[in-house]
Structure formats: structure tokens, C-alpha cells
Amino acid sequence: MPTAIQKWLSRALPLEETILVDILGGIVKALQLIFSGDPTLYGIVFRSLFFSGIAVILATLWGTPIAMLLALRDFRGKTIVKTFFNSLIGIPTVVLGLILYLVFSKGGPLGFLELLYTPGAIILGEAVLVTPILISIATTAIEAVDPEIMNLAKTLGASESQASMAVLKEAVNGVLLSNIASFNRAIAELGVALLVGGNIAGLTDVLTTAISRYTQRGDVGFAIALGIILMIIVFLINTVIITAREAKMLFTLGRSPQ
């Protein structure tokens, strides 16, 4: 790098050491890593997809019944419950990460599970993170189903629970969308995975936490590679969502802050 620029840099960034960032070199290395199928890199990608995937499945399992309750039943305090979940949609991930850290740590209520700094903690943590958004979208989807479908199923002989399943089936597009939106939030978050996972190389490091580590270390090539892959994933997800919106399958989707 020309000495003039070096001089300017050391004056502009008055640090003890100025880390020289070779951007072009970084991009080249990134592409090399991606196309060579570097095992460390793809290990991180796989972990990200796997943890967030299981997290969404968990959230669906406990979130869908809640969504059905909120959409189909009337009970006292229903508005409060709905507001509660809606307001948790945008919780800063690092705050939730902190809460979960305290819960999973040795002195905490779930410390005996010894989940801290294990993949399980990340999966559980991200499941909790995405539950509000999953419930919010799924509830809206189920509420949008024609209320007479319930009566229709009943008059064809269905029991209450069978009729509820018929309503759920009608809302399946919206419910699927809630899953996709949840996956988006889970795979792109940093705070939870970092604080309860510990970012342990090869065990609990995921795309977001790894980008953070490699950038701080100055290993720009790796960080850029991870960043490119994460952007591709997010881009694909958003393409699906936008296509679905065009096909009139989507309801308003709130943007979730990092």
C-alpha cells in the first residue's frame, strides 16, 4: 500500500496499532474459501442452518397451539396476551441473550440442565426469540380464515378439535410464512447465540458470531466469506416472502431490528 495512504491512515486512526485492511485480498480469499468447500466455513454454515431450523420447529410446536387459541377462542385477558407477544417481537437479541444466560448459568433456575455454551442453549434461545413473531403471524393467518369454516366442518360431522384442524389447514399458507419469517430472524441474530453459545469454534459458532470473531481478529477473508453466505440466505428468504406477498399470501410482516 502506498506510504502516503499509510501515513494518512495512521494520522486518521490514532490507535496503537492500525490494522491494515486488505479489502480486495479479503474478497479473493472469501471466494476461494466458498468455492473450495472449506470445511471450517461450511461447518459454521451448517451449524447456523441446523440450530435456527430446529429452533423454528420448536417454536412452531409450542407456538401454533397458542396462535390457534388466540385466533379461535375468546377469553378474558386475550388482548393483554396478544399485546404481550406483539411487543416481544422486536426484543433486542442481546437482551434476550442476557436473560437466557442468567437462566442457564450455574446459579440460574435452569442451571442444572448444564446447557450454557452448548448447541442446545442456542437452539432453545433462538426458539424463544422467534416465538412472538411466529405467534403473531400465525394468529393473523388463522383469523383471516372464513369463520364459517368452523361451522362447515361441524355440520359435516367434525368434533371441535377436528373443526379447528380444518381451520388450521385453511391457514396453512400463512402459517408457513410465519415459519419462514421466524427462520429469517433466527439465522440473522447475534445476541442470543453469542451470549448463551459462547461462540466456541467448531461447536457453538454460527454465521453471525463467527463473522464477529473473524473481523475482530483481522481475518477479513473469512469474515467476508461468511457475510456473503449469510446475505445469500437472507436474500433467498426475502425473495420467497416477496413472491408470497405478490401472490397475496402474506399479511403485514413487521421488520425485526437486530
Binding site: D146, L152, T155, G157
Partner: protein, 353 residues
């Protein structure tokens, strides 16, 4: 005679609104019973109660001799099914819609497939199995909904205005299906309608309803043979008007129905009365005709309703009268809204109460 279902002193309130007021009604096994009345008279509510998807606020409902407990209507729902006025279909294929109830009843697959095929044949929709139900025309959709109910072979079949939104062709297909199902499978049918002409031909008995109450029950002959007071005040019936009659010296009477419209009727009547003229008995003419008909009125077309092979026109002669003519005549006469026309009908075509 077996009583399939019975409503005893049934009332139904939705908040402050009383939808049904002390209803007593017996449904005879194997009959077609029509509930005839204007919108809001309580027909749909009765059907929903008989389908056990709505519980009465008061009173008792008996099904096949036994009182129904409103806490557990699952068993009785299997024996009674309702086809809604506004067609609702599951967002899937025609086959999946029709087979739904059979799957719930755990009917074996080969029997299911056969039954669906037969049901589609009955409503003249053979081969429609794989079609997307919501993409069909409204007439076809209604027929799918009926097939979906028929396939269950319930003891009680409830139909809420089954032909209300159908053109005459689909309507007559459906009426034929209803008659066939009742005749051959002895299915007890209760159908709500505000179509007086349907009520004349299809059912064995008619229940007149108004404002949540039953005003009259009888056979079509009893109800229509002599136009009853209740039927005449039935606002949904076209060409029914209250008026004052003055007997003439020649054995007829002139009924003043307001706005200068005076209808000549046969029979010497005097005082308050109601008149009714069947839309099919009125001749529509573009010019004044010298004929033997006593009633000739000039007017303006205010509404045109295209029903496929028939056209219904509303003509304002001082009061709005409905006339029914064939599509062919309509095209030949080149009529449109605001066209000046003449209505012609005989004094003997007018029914009075």
C-alpha cells in the same frame, strides 16, 4: 308418521335481538318442508339449530324422539347436515371437499371413492374430482356443496336458500336433485326459501315465517290455494300490494293500490285487501294494445335482471311491477332501462285476499 325432529317453545336471542320467538315445529320423516319468509324472519336460525351448530336460548329440541343435550351435539351433528346460503368450500379439490365428511365418519377408502363419484353424478358434475373447488362457477360451487352434504346420507338434510343465487338452469338441476333425493332415498329435507314459486312445487308442507315467528303451516294447496293474509304481507313476494277495493256494477272490483294505480279484479270485493299478480301472467308490450284485458298500464323499465334464458324486468307504472319474459323476446324488443312500455293483464289473473 315418524317425527324426525321437533322444536318445542324454542327461542333464540343474539344479544338484544330476538331471532326466534317461541317456535313450535315438527319435522315429519320423509317430507320436504319449506320455510318460507322474507330475509330476517328466522329461517337460517332454525336451520342452524336443527343442524346442531347453534343452540337455542330457550326451549327444547328433540331429534328422533330424544331430547338433545346442547352440551354434546357431536352425535346428532352426524345425523343432520346444513348447506349454507353462501357457499363455503375448503381451499382444495372438489374431491377433497366432498370426501371430508366421509373421512370423519371413517368410511373405508374404496367406499369413499365410490360415494364421491355417485354424488358428483347426481349433481351432474361427473369428472370434476380434481378441479380446484374455489375456481368453479358459483352454480357449480353450490352443486359441490350439495353433493358434499348428500354423500353423508344424513337423516336430516337442511338447505338454506339452495337456489337463491343460481340462474334458472342450475336452479332447476338442483330442484330436481332435491326431489330425487327425497323420493328415492326418503331423506327428510327442510329448506329455507323466499322464492314463492319454488315453495309451490317442491315441498310437501310449508311453514310461513315472519319476524322470528311461525305464522302458518300447511300444504302448498292450503297456503296458496287461497292467498292468505300472511302471504300477502310477505314483502319479498313480487307484485303484492295492499289496497282498497270498490265493487263495480258489473261484478268486478277496482282496487286502488296507490299512486293512481287502479287494478281491476274479478269478484265483488269491498274494503281493505291485497292483490297479487304472477309476473308470468303479465304481457309486456311496446305499444298500447287494444285487447280484452282489463288492466293496461303505461310505465318505465327501472330494472333489468338477466337470468340466462329468462329476463326479469321491474316496471314502474306508479308502483313497481315485476314482469318475466324470455330472453328471445327481450332481444327482439330491444329494451333497456327507461324504455317506455305497457303492462297488460287480465282481471282474472289478479289474486286477492
Amino acid at each position: 308418521m315418524m317425527i324426525t325432529a321437533e322444536l318445542k317453545n324454542v327461542t333464540k336471542a343474539f344479544g338484544n335481538k330476538i331471532a326466534l320467538d317461541n317456535i313450535n315445529l315438527q319435522i315429519h320423516g320423509g317430507e320436504i318442508l319449506a320455510l318460507l319468509g322474507p330475509n330476517g324472519s328466522g329461517k337460517t336460525t332454525i336451520l342452524k339449530i336443527l343442524a346442531f351448530i347453534e343452540n337455542p336460548t330457550g326451549g327444547e329440541v328433540k331429534f328422533q324422539g330424544e331430547t338433545v343435550s346442547f352440551k354434546n351435539t357431536e352425535k346428532t351433528r352426524m345425523q343432520s347436515t346444513l348447506v349454507f346460503q353462501k357457499t363455503i368450500l375448503f381451499d382444495t379439490s372438489v374431491f377433497n371437499n366432498i370426501v371430508y365428511g366421509l373421512k370423519i365418519r371413517k368410511v373405508p377408502k374404496n367406499v369413499r371413492d365410490e360415494e364421491v363419484k355417485n354424488a358428483l353424478k347426481l349433481v351432474k358434475l361427473e369428472g370434476f374430482e380434481k378441479r380446484s373447488a374455489r375456481k368453479l362457477s358459483s352454480g357449480e360451487q353450490q352443486r359441490v356443496a350439495i353433493a358434499r352434504a348428500l354423500v353423508l346420507k344424513t337423516k336430516l338434510l337442511l338447505l338454506d336458500e339452495p337456489t337463491a343465487n343460481l340462474d334458472p338452469k342450475n336452479a332447476s338441476i338442483l330442484e330436481e336433485v332435491i326431489a330425487t333425493v327425497n323420493r328415492e332415498m326418503k331423506t327428510t329435507i327442510v329448506m329455507a326459501t323466499h322464492n314463492m314459486f319454488q315453495a309451490k312445487t317442491l315441498p310437501h308442507r310449508i311453514t310461513l315465517m315472519s319476524d322470528g315467528r311461525i305464522t302458518e303451516v300447511g300444504t302448498p294447496t292450503e297456503i296458496f290455494g287461497k292467498l292468505s293474509k300472511n302471504l300477502a304481507s310477505f314483502a319479498a313476494v313480487d307484485n303484492t300490494f295492499p289496497g282498497t277495493a270498490k265493487a263495480t256494477a258489473v261484478g268486478t272490483a277496482i282496487v286502488d293500490i296507490g299512486n293512481g294505480v287502479q287494478i281491476e279484479v274479478t269478484g265483488q270485493i269491498q274494503g281493505a285487501t291485497s292483490i297479487f299478480v304472477n309476473p308470468q301472467d303479465i304481457i309486456l308490450s311496446k305499444s298500447a294494445v287494444a285487447s280484452s284485458a282489463r288492466n293496461v298500464f303505461e310505465g318505465r323499465i327501472i330494472e333489468i335482471l338477466d337470468l340466462g334464458s329468462l329476463v326479469k324486468l321491474k316496471v314502474d307504472i306508479g308502483k313497481p311491477f315485476t314482469v318475466q319474459i324470455t330472453k328471445r323476446s327481450f332481444n327482439e324488443m330491444s329494451l333497456n332501462v327507461d324504455s317506455r312500455v305497457f303492462l297488460v293483464f287480465k282481471a282474472s289473473s289478479v289474486q286477492t285476499v
